[in-house]
Assembly symmetry: C2
Homo-oligomer: 293 residues x 2
């Protein structure tokens, strides 16, 4: 067991909370990797003590990102497995809990793979697609279009401009792309045949929580008469038992704005797109939506 | 006469074309200041030679900013005065042409003053106003609200973030403001009672050409059920005789994006907001619009 494992685990949990770059699926999988490591490292003299410790860690992990349902749902699904390991000896319980976390990670990868197939079929005929921010799910969908001649319009996605990372990925794949400011999403929606985004969460009413700027893109898509598609796994759906949604606000220093008396700088990372603006939703089971092209 | 006056004038005309910060009204007035200086400095042996030279300068000035109608209209109005000076001696013709340009500048200031009165009356009861970019016209309207308790939501307005200048001005006036990213205009439109923007041009059909991001703001205003007001002088209206509208694209280095094979960086500065999204238009004569609050 490494020295002071808790400090390492605590630091990794804090890093998830502070992360500005990775999407909800990736962070959810990192939560499960931490859960697996806790299963192996948590100080415990008995199976019961281990499971109590893992429940505390799970509760911590489930609330790391209040704008994202995926860490909550995948960690909850893992926690639900723990009582079944109470009959095992301590080493076997450790192994079972770690294996269960690993299985959740694999389930997540499998869901991503299935949804990427459905979503890429949905958008396969488009010549020009507009997207916003950097979604690992959208990346997976676009990876399937690598050999096509599709042109991708990418917003820079302030404040950290992670859209540039998506542009870099597309460039490495030899795909054509146009990088625009977030303010230009209205002008450029008119040049695209469809809009495609990932999700940080889906709300109970079908609304979408995603990187701020998604809502204006959905409005522009509707106004320009192009479909607005969301691709995300079902475990990104919030359930009524979850703690209230918080639209996370990050460090205002990221905006690089001057400090002015009476001027509040706001750096909210997420906005909410009403379900009525979503044309269809691709998930691991297929495509659902009322106006599928 | 200063040495090489043409070089100075040419540099000032180029500066108008390169300007990324000032709005259409300010640039139109700078065009007229240049016209007045040309009247005094243009090399000419006769009144006819002077007027021919000024017509050439006027034609140059009128097309400095293809996204903006104001320089074109004000310079055209000045050019229309020139034939009347053909009967004057050269020194008197110089003085008359310079005075005419000065009069156009004063007319512009007078129009701004009148429209600021109309627009500030229109928005006087709002507790929270959202605006986009830096419009000298909007600044003039907000100046009239200095003693009110209104809260202004200001977008940073990439790429040069001139929204910060507006925030600074509001701070100096002791007004409360919130500075947000352009992507946040959807989330924040819902927190405002109305949206107020200036104009680079109004098209013949009543559509609005303004800093890119204005169109998504108008969409968000409509979706959130708040009015979207435009304030601009009538000389910002394009007429059918003008050269075709060009949505100017500026130096892509302003985005600070990496240079990637196959990735085009776009830095278009303007977008078009359809007339159907404009609730009312405040100009120097009053407020026109179909759903005035």
């Amino acid at each position: 067991m490494p020295a002071a494992p808790d400090t390492d685990i605590d630091a990794r949990i804090r890093a998830i909370g502070d992360d500005r770059i990775h999407g909800a699926s990736e962070l959810a999988r990192e939560c499960l990797r931490i859960a697996a490591d806790c299963a192996q490292q948590e100080t415990a003299a008995s199976t019961q003590e281990l499971l109590d410790g893992l429940r505390r860690r799970g509760a911590q992990l489930a609330v790391t990102r209040p704008s994202m349902a995926a860490p909550h749902n995948l960690v909850r699904a893992w926690l639900d497995r723990l009582p079944g390991f109470a009959v095992l000896e301590l080493p076997a319980a450790r192994a079972a809990a770690a294996t269960a976390a690993q299985a959740m990670i694999e389930r997540s990868h499998g869901a991503l793979d299935a949804l990427a197939t459905h979503a890429s079929n949905l958008v396969a005929n488009a010549q020009t697609i507009i997207t916003h921010s950097l979604s690992s799910t959208v990346v997976e969908v676009l990876a399937r279009l690598r050999t096509s001649s599709v042109h991708i319009i990418v917003t820079e996605s302030r404040p950290l401009c992670e859209g540039r990372q998506l542009a870099r990925r597309l460039s490495e794949w030899g795909m054509a792309a146009t990088l625009i400011t977030d303010a230009a999403l209205g002008l450029y929606a008119a040049k695209a045949e469809l809009a495609l985004v990932g999700a940080d969460s889906l709300l109970v009413d079908g609304s979408l929580v995603n990187k701020i700027g998604t809502y204006p893109l959905a409005l522009a898509a509707r106004d320009c008469g192009i479909p607005f598609y969301v691709c995300c796994e079902t475990f990104k759906q919030r359930t009524p038992d979850m703690p209230p949604l918080v639209l996370e606000e990050m460090d205002i220093a990221e905006l690089g704005a001057p400090d002015l008396p009476g001027v509040k700088v706001s750096n909210v990372y997420f906005d909410i797109t009403p379900a009525r603006l979503i044309s269809a939703w691709a998930n691991e089971h297929g495509v659902v939506g009322r106006d599928i092209a």
